[in-house]
Symmetry: C2
Subunit: 437 residues, 2 copies
Amino acid sequence: MTLINETHDPARKSWVSSANGDMQFPIQNLPFAIFREAGSQSSWRGGVAIGEQILDMAKVAKLTLFSGDAQTAAQAAAEASLNTLMGLGEKANSALRLALSQALTQGSEHQAALEGCLLPQNSAEYGMPCHVTDYTDFYSSIHHATAVGSLFRPDNPLLPNYKWVPIGYHGRSSSIGVSGQAFPRPVGQTKKPDASVPDFGPCQRLDYELEMGVFIGQGTQLGQRIDISKAEQHIFGMCILNDWSARDIQAWEYQPLGPFLAKNFASTISPWVITTQALAPFRHKFTRPETDPQPLAYLSSEQNSQSGNLDIELSCFIQTESMRQAKHTPQRLSESNFKHAYWTPAQLVTHHSVNGCPMTPGDLLGSGTQSGPEAEEAGSLLELTQGGKKSLTLDNGETRTFLQDGDAIIMRAQCRLDGAATIGFGEVVGTILPALV
Amino acid sequence: MTLINETHDPARKSWVSSANGDMQFPIQNLPFAIFREAGSQSSWRGGVAIGEQILDMAKVAKLTLFSGDAQTAAQAAAEASLNTLMGLGEKANSALRLALSQALTQGSEHQAALEGCLLPQNSAEYGMPCHVTDYTDFYSSIHHATAVGSLFRPDNPLLPNYKWVPIGYHGRSSSIGVSGQAFPRPVGQTKKPDASVPDFGPCQRLDYELEMGVFIGQGTQLGQRIDISKAEQHIFGMCILNDWSARDIQAWEYQPLGPFLAKNFASTISPWVITTQALAPFRHKFTRPETDPQPLAYLSSEQNSQSGNLDIELSCFIQTESMRQAKHTPQRLSESNFKHAYWTPAQLVTHHSVNGCPMTPGDLLGSGTQSGPEAEEAGSLLELTQGGKKSLTLDNGETRTFLQDGDAIIMRAQCRLDGAATIGFGEVVGTILPALV
């Protein structure tokens, strides 16, 4: 369990002035991304967000300002992907966080040296934060599972295993892209309920899913189980994840082996990875309804039941092609919160490894769509439009049941609690291109 | 489409005498593996099987005997994984095959140089042939789908989408190991039909699945579709795949998103990758029953319907701990043939990419369990024992419904047709260890 320490002190200020009062990247956050100068052919390397700047870890590592674990981690953060850093584990990552926090604090002896390591975020472009070694998507919002289940199986919305098993399935890593990803509308097979023969063509029910992504840090070997009490030590950090979904393709293909082409055409993640350490002040207690079973022993720990969830505010916006042309800002579709998740990140990790499945630094676990308990807190259009039956009217008069070509979906996440500095995840943007014929 | 050429000539003999008449690795085969001297710390590198020898491609590449594409491919084959070689595509791989075939033929000018590049197979150990970038498992045997469906869903064994959609789902790459893999029996949640609460403990219904694995060669970008007429150009080659399955875990977890922990604890592949070129003489025409629908246009081509399947004989053996101690050879459980597959490798590749999902050199596609039309041709114990209801009695008097600790499963594959040299896939062996408590 990560403890609150000086790096979380809300009174701490940075000599990077834009960090002070920043609602995304104050000195209490210190997330990692892979970046380079926008439009350049310079090398990808790791960076740390501080206010409106990026601290270039390739430059920092060369200065050898730190020692021991912190310097080892700084060198790993200088690489072109974060997999090595992720694999160093909690101790080294905590050491680097402390070293960076101190070095970026007002009055640090390292200010002069580090001033030469800054690049404005608006001059940068982002790469994938790591090579995603394996991608698994869970289904941890009971509100989403119930709402979607009622559309696919009206008689049987929430299956009997849901309250016992953290349901998950494997996804595709090759189609995961970083914010800014644009992809053609998928084509595929669909079948109308009353048709005898399937159709083939562009997806007509293209949707987003508002999720959190969990990056695995220290890995395990085949046959090794991760105890629930140690699961968070294997989580490097989190991002925002848009798990795009083709609902009409999904309905026809998903039985008996689950979603496949309905999901693997694209998934988009935010560039900044917010570390487990940074999220420590935002732990949340989720209480299962009294009538629900308690988790089996392997999924239970005192710490997990007391503070295993995270209070992360989520929001989802649309910007259509017309809105972009008229220079309208994105319009909010819904707000939700990760604290409602029925299964915690630690439970997802422990469940995933309980059979001995090896975890690898850079594995990405999707939380599943994070819909809240209220209908307007839904994390997908499928839910907001009741399966496409009730269209949404946007402020500019356009209507949507599902996504149109040119639509961009923007997701944001932020942690705000009294007594803690507000930190943000930045955002993830993805855009639908016309189908390729 | 790969044409039959001089490399397939059954009369061709090699100066490596053990290759002549070899039923696995004659000069007409020339498969690739990653190997090193057994028990050594020497570097992993690519090798080509020829009779009972391995041609060390790291040594071959250094000799620069070849030129152009063939030399480029030889250098790629010298690496510690075959991903680069796979990604070079059909033209370079065909050029290397021709160059190797000529250089290994009796009378070749290169004999003296290449004699120094041989290592006996019984002095070698094998690594994973490549980094498996993404793993997808299909369900291409209609006989398996029907038999398993009748156990999980007696009222509805073959779902309505089966004859239209090449059903597949994503698997886990981190737990794929090469022949020789031993892994602990998985533990997990199961639930008896009449119980109100699930159990937790070691899997009681551990099974194998007899599959073929298809390695993707040349990859594609996000949004790029692979036309059915070009799909085989994207297949580097094939291996044997044992997709171990925990049937009791699967039954409780698989709805609604498909199998997960029931599959991802281990999957074992044979070390040798048999190239698409080597398989050219064994093309087979599969005729759908007249009452079945024809595949949709994107899954149809003249070549695919005429010769898109492959005639590959498959067999599966068990060697229990008692058999090993008594030095009994493995006992055959079943025989089948890949030619019965309802969907061809080309159809699997085209379907996988139809929505724009990027393919990557080193992606592994499992064929799904290859059960034949007869009950005794089943590729899993689930089928052979009718869901565990009818136990098998082995020659030594032991009985099995599902696998016991210490059991090894051995799978073999071979191509034999009049007018062609017989070629083999070698074998894949995997062994069950006791569950970790």
